[in-house]
């Protein structure tokens, strides 16, 4: 079974390529997929009959109880034949239906084939959740197929409507499936059906499953999506909306009816949904003018009937229902294909404009008539056999003392069948009969007079053969009803109640035969009186109720969404931040405050300080931050925040965290450089906002948040009562990480995944900065001295003695002292960085610190010599550094997989080199080098964008005079 499923999906994947290669003939190849499924079902017939269904089982997601359990019992066998057989015929039909190179044929072919695969999976799935997965797949593919002509509003709307309705039902069904699985303790469909739940779970499951079936099979009140879905291409209508997808709901009912039909709510719901749909669909089909709409409402009606028969829960009706399911697939698919052929030949589906086709399209007409005969239940067609069995079963029940339920069902069946006869005759008459032609309203009149048919093109045989095959099949199976009974009765025997039914062509002169004759007569009468019936319907009832209700619901939903959005999205950053912070201060803050004050959570204990020097440093922090908050001048605020940052570094050092202190000092330096680079372009003062009230609010929130954070800081360490995991770190760091600096080993080995995530963030941030400033491309060009043509004052008087690009800076901005210092310290800093990198495993340092030192060295070069100096100092794109770094860190970590270790696991190796001697090599060194490269890339990116590129975009007046600027000044004078 699994190979069949895979073949269909693989064909779907290959479909776009096949269509590109073979154009529409690709459908011939694709038809092999569903054909294989049908052939498999046919080949498995003996096993299915023998009660030894083929099964397949493989685990998929054990944690979710999701496994690939497949099982081919009688019901699945019939559905597989229908889905595969009709699917193959429809795909063949497609190869002649669409014109060559039609819009989106590749996608269409792929989706239609994939849909067939999903349908195959759905009917053979024996796992509750796998069933749901395929169910939703059919929904999604159906959405894509209905919306095939995505440029048309009607298509889009119909597709959206279908997916909203069916997905909503599908989710409800999922609840039902889970209730079934949990209450029975097994997730196998066959086991659930064999041992169904009772009581409340059964009721909930019954209602939920019927909701799913009702939306999928277009039962009232969800029937409206199916006629709208006729916006899909006609082959799709034939397959999805007659034979396959809408049968999924029917299949669900058929699958679970043996288990749940005893639940009273199930039977009444089935009567309500099935019977109501049967009548409503038939009633509305009577006044449609579009042939597809006649069939669509007919389908709605028939689906209601099948659900009614399968769901009522007696064996005789189940047998009749299953027979009708097969018969319906054959005749309704054939009828849709006939409509498609008529559409191709004449260019219209409006029955008021078609005339005389029985003469010009005799074969198509013959197929249509045969299929209609089956639909309205004329002997000797399959539809007749099934409907006779249904009437017989219900009549037997009613006359043998069954309740009101069966009587109502019988009444619905009789009236519905009469309506079916009426619209069936209307279809045949409308499509093929010779009759006066009415020009369409609002369009230019048809240029063909009277009874002249519109046919102007010959019929390709592929548009005739598939419907003909289906129609003939509908006749053939009916001629051997006992074989059908033999094949299908194993399914009916699953039902607990009722006498077994029979499928016969001639049951003798019984009251049931009388009913059949009466039904046919009533239907014929309705058809003859069609004009009166139409007028009567027009006067009686505007029939768009459910559709309008759906749209109003969607409208309300939109309104609600807009109100919620308006209520929550105020569009003001301070409001958002304020709400977040207020929640932080109030919610955990209150808990902590009460806990601390009452001493219920932890005993508050505090020492004044760990080391006396902390007191001094904290005093600096407090002064600097308060002054920074009050500062009105940008630069002042930045410097004060920097002071607080350096003081923080001192606190780290005092606490026993030299790595942190080192990194903090270096980042603080880079931060200040970058801030100053940007702020030199901005106004020196913050804009004044004399809003006293808001300032008090901010102050209050600030104080509250500060207090809440203090409470957290007090409570957090005291709440640590278990032995921390880090007590094992020293031993592990030496043994597995091969290093003595525990913080560094933690970063590159013990918690290396965190670091990979972090450097990815750095890469993203660097890219973000570059794209915000460069705007057009990732990094611009590397500014080398040899191409310094935008500098207009080639400084001919001084030579570049100390730094490379000194002559590109205007003389009044140059400082010999700075250049000398730069010359002296740059290489020293780079060497120091390398020292930090290599010693970082055992002493303070590591990749972050090393990268930051290199970054600061570059910043010094840039500040001394401008943007060309930066290009000379590091003549590579930062993107290359970032990418290489990430690759070294994450990519080298993958190498460990090859040696059978965990990803990012370190590898210690002692190498003996000549001259140097023994080298203690740990693979995490490469990780650290990667980290360093990423940090260097980040800083280089910042200098190039916030420094060099901003220089280029808006040079500081008086420093680098651009020619245009000079010219402008000349003009101004």
């Amino acid at each position: 079974m699994l190979p069949v499923l895979l073949i269909v999906f693989l064909l779907a994947l290959a479909a776009p390529a096949l269509v590109a290669w073979l154009d529409r003939r690709a459908f011939w190849v694709l038809a092999l997929g569903p054909a294989a499924a049908a052939a498999y079902a046919a080949a498995s017939t003996p096993r299915v009959l023998a009660g030894d269904p083929p099964v397949f089982s493989a685990p998929w997601v054990p944690g979710l109880e999701l496994s690939i359990d497949l099982r081919l019992d009688t019901l699945a066998w019939l559905m597989l034949l229908v889905v595969g057989g009709v699917g193959a015929l429809v795909l063949l039909y497609c190869s002649a239906y669409f014109k060559r190179g039609a819009y989106g044929t590749g996608r269409f072919a792929a989706v239609l084939t994939a849909f067939a695969g999903a349908m195959v999976g759905l009917v053979v799935a024996d796992d509750l959740l796998l069933l749901f997965v395929f169910w939703e797949l059919t929904t999604v593919f159906s959405y894509l197929l209905i919306g095939h002509y995505a440029d048309r509003k009607a298509s889009r709307r119909a597709a959206m409507q279908a997916i909203v309705v069916t997905t909503a039902g599908g989710l409800v069904m999922l609840v039902g499936l889970i209730v079934l699985g949990v209450s029975t303790g097994t997730w196998r469909v066959s086991e659930v059906v064999a041992d169904p739940p009772t009581g409340a779970p059964a009721v909930v499951a019954a209602v939920c499953l019927l909701a799913g079936a009702a939306t999928k099979s277009a039962l009232i009140p969800f029937h409206f999506w199916l006629p709208a879905a006729m916006a899909a291409p006609t082959p799709v209508s034939a397959y999805l909306h007659a034979a396959a997808m809408v049968k999924a709901g029917v299949y669900l009912v058929a699958r679970f009816a043996p288990a749940l039909a005893e639940v009273p709510v199930w039977r009444w719901l089935v009567l309500l949904l099935g019977g109501g749909t049967l009548l409503l669909g038939g009633y509305r089909a009577l006044r449609q003018h579009d042939l597809k709409l006649v069939l669509a409402f007919g389908t709605v009606s028939q689906l209601g009937l099948i659900v009614l028969l399968l769901g009522l829960g007696s064996r005789a009706l189940a047998l009749a229902g299953l027979a009708l399911l097969g018969a319906h697939a054959m005749f309704k698919a054939a009828l849709f294909l006939v409509v498609g052929a008529v559409d191709v030949a004449t260019g219209t589906r409006d029955l008021r404009r078609l005339s005389g086709l029985w003469r010009t399209m005799p074969w198509t007409a013959a197929a249509g008539v045969a299929a209609t005969a089956s639909m309205i239940g004329l002997p000797p067609f399959a539809g007749y056999v099934a409907k006779e069995a249904a009437l017989e079963g219900l009549w037997h029940d009613v006359t043998h003392g069954a309740g009101a339920l069966e009587a109502l069902a019988l009444a619905a069946l009789v009236v519905g069948s009469a309506l079916t006869v009426a619209y069936g005759l209307r279809f045949v008459w409308g499509a093929f009969a010779t009759k006066p032609v009415v020009p369409a309203q609002g369009r230019e009149p048809v240029d063909v007079a009277g009874t002249t048919p519109l046919v102007s093109r010959r019929q390709p045989w592929l548009l005739v053969a598939p419907p003909m095959a289906l129609a003939v099949l509908g006749l053939a199976v009916a001629l051997v009803p006992s074989m059908g009974e033999h094949l299908l009765s194993p399914y009916a025997d699953l039902y607990p109640a009722g006498d077994p039914g029979h499928l016969v062509l001639w049951g003798g002169l019984t009251p049931v035969l009388g009913i059949t004759v009466a039904v046919l007569a009533a239907g014929a009468f309705l058809f003859v009186q069609r004009a009166r019936v139409e007028r009567w319907q027009d006067a009686l009832w505007s029939p768009r109720g459910a559709d309008v209700a759906y749209r109003r619901t969607m409208r309300r939903l939109d309104d609600l969404a807009a109100d919620v959005t308006a209520g929550t999205q105020r569009g003001s950053l301070p409001v958002y931040l304020g709400i977040i912070l207020a929640v932080l201060a109030v919610a955990p803050g209150l808990v902590i405050a009460s806990g601390l004050l009452r001493g219920t959570t932890v005993d508050v204990a505090v020492v004044p300080w760990d080391r006396p020097a902390q007191l001094v440093v904290v005093a600096i922090v407090v002064c600097a931050t308060v002054l920074a908050a009050r500062a009105r001048r940008r630069l002042k605020a930045v410097v004060l925040v920097g002071v607080a940052g350096y003081a923080n570094a001192a606190l780290f050092l005092l606490h026993g965290a030299p790595d942190l202190a080192l990194t903090q000092v270096l980042t603080e330096t880079v931060t200040i450089v970058v801030l100053v680079l940007v702020l030199r372009r901005m106004p020196p003062y913050f804009t004044d906002r004399p809003l006293a009230v808001s300032r008090w609010v901010r102050l209050a929130l600030g104080v509250t948040t500060g207090l809440a954070m203090m409470g957290l800081t007090l409570a957090a360490p005291l709440a640590r009562v278990a032995t921390p995991i880090s007590v094992d770190f020293p031993g592990e760091a030496v043994e597995f990480g091969g290093g003595k600096n525990i913080v560094n080993v933690t970063l590159v080995d013990i918690r290396a995944w965190d670091t990979v995530g972090e450097i990815s963030v750095l890469l993203v941030a660097a890219t973000g900065v570059a794209s915000l400033v460069f705007l057009r491309q990732r990094g611009g060009e590397v500014l080398r001295l040899s191409r310094a043509d935008d500098v207009t004052h080639p400084d001919t008087h001084t030579r570049s003695v100390w730094i490379a690009a000194g002559s590109t800076v205007s003389p009044e901005r140059r400082s010999v002292m700075f250049e000398v210092v730069t010359r002296v310290i740059f290489h020293v800093m780079v060497l120091f960085a390398l020292f930090l990198l290599f010693s970082g495993h055992n002493a303070p340092g590591g990749g972050f610190a090393a990268g930051l030192v290199v970054g600061i060295a570059l910043a010094v070069r840039y500040l001394a010599g401008g943007r060309y100096e930066l290009g000379e100092a590091m003549p590579v794109q930062p993107g290359i550094l970032l990418g290489t770094g990430l690759f070294l860190s994450a990519g080298v970590g993958l190498v460990a997989l090859l040696t059978g270790n965990e990803v990012l696991e370190s590898f210690i190796h002692d190498i003996h080199l000549p001259v140097i001697g023994k080298v203690h090599l740990v693979t995490s060194l490469f990780f650290d080098i990667g980290v360093m490269l990423v940090v260097v890339g980040l800083v280089l990116d910042l200098l190039r964008t916030l420094g060099a590129e901003i220089d280029r975009q808006s040079p500081v007046p008086g420093s680098e005079r651009e020619p245009e600027e000079q010219a402008a000044r000349e003009v101004a004078r």
Binding site: Y97, F98, R157, P227, T234, K292, G340, V344, T346, G347, V446, R457, L463, R551, D563, A566, Q569, L573, P574, L577, A605, V607, P608, W609, D610, R611, L615, V618, V622, A628, A637, A644, L651, H655, G656, A657, D659, T667, T671, L675, R681, T687, G702, L712, P717, L718, P724, S726, P730, V734, I742, T746, L747, D754, E758, L762, L772, N842, F848, I950
Partner: protein, 176 residues
């Protein structure tokens, strides 16, 4: 490594409170530069808080560096803080770039209210749709009228060699 005593020290708690409080005060302002400085301060405060949560001060967490009797400070908290410090740098740079861009475009770096959000709120107050939803509109077209608009791209190149021009193009289903 012996387990550290956890009792927090008051001066550090005070530093956390001041850093976070002033940070929040700045964060709620409009100029992006001040927002950014506020964020940097909060970042420093939270880093200190993590440090305090790691336990009291101790020897630096380098094996063999500390005297045997002195407990080591907690390396796990420090590794996390180190990560946080570097990420704060990246975030600072990004917000600065945004501030610069805002200054370039608008001549100031203040965070204005979102115009689109305000529009949605106004429309909602009027109960008017803020966007068009074809799924929810009632067109008044009947199903029949809609169905008449539906046509498929069907075969117009059959074997008898007729060109598409011969097709009944004046009909609704004709090749368009």
């Amino acid at each position: 490594m012996t387990v550290l005593e956890n009792t927090p020290s008051a001066v550090l708690v005070l530093a956390v409170g001041v850093l976070c409080g002033t940070g929040v005060y700045l964060l709620l302002e409009r100029p992006l530069t001040r927002v950014l400085l506020g964020f940097v301060l909060i970042g420093n405060g939270v880093n200190l808080m993590l440090l305090v949560a790691g336990g009291r001060a101790g020897a630096s967490p380098i094996v063999g560096n500390a005297p045997n009797d002195e407990p080591m400070s907690d390396p796990l908290a420090q590794a996390m803080i180190l990560t946080s410090i570097v990420i704060t740098l990246a975030l600072t740079a990004l917000v600065l770039a945004v501030a610069y861009r805002s200054w370039q475009l608008h001549g100031h770096d203040e965070v204005a209210d979102d115009v689109e959000d305000r529009r949605v709120a106004r429309q909602a107050a009027l109960n008017a749709p803020a966007f068009e939803d074809a799924d929810a509109t009632e067109t008044g077209e009947t199903l029949d009228e809609e169905a008449a608009e539906v046509y498929d791209e069907v075969a117009d190149d059959d074997p008898d060699g007729q060109t598409p021009g011969d097709a009944p193009t004046d009909t609704p289903g004709g090749a368009r």
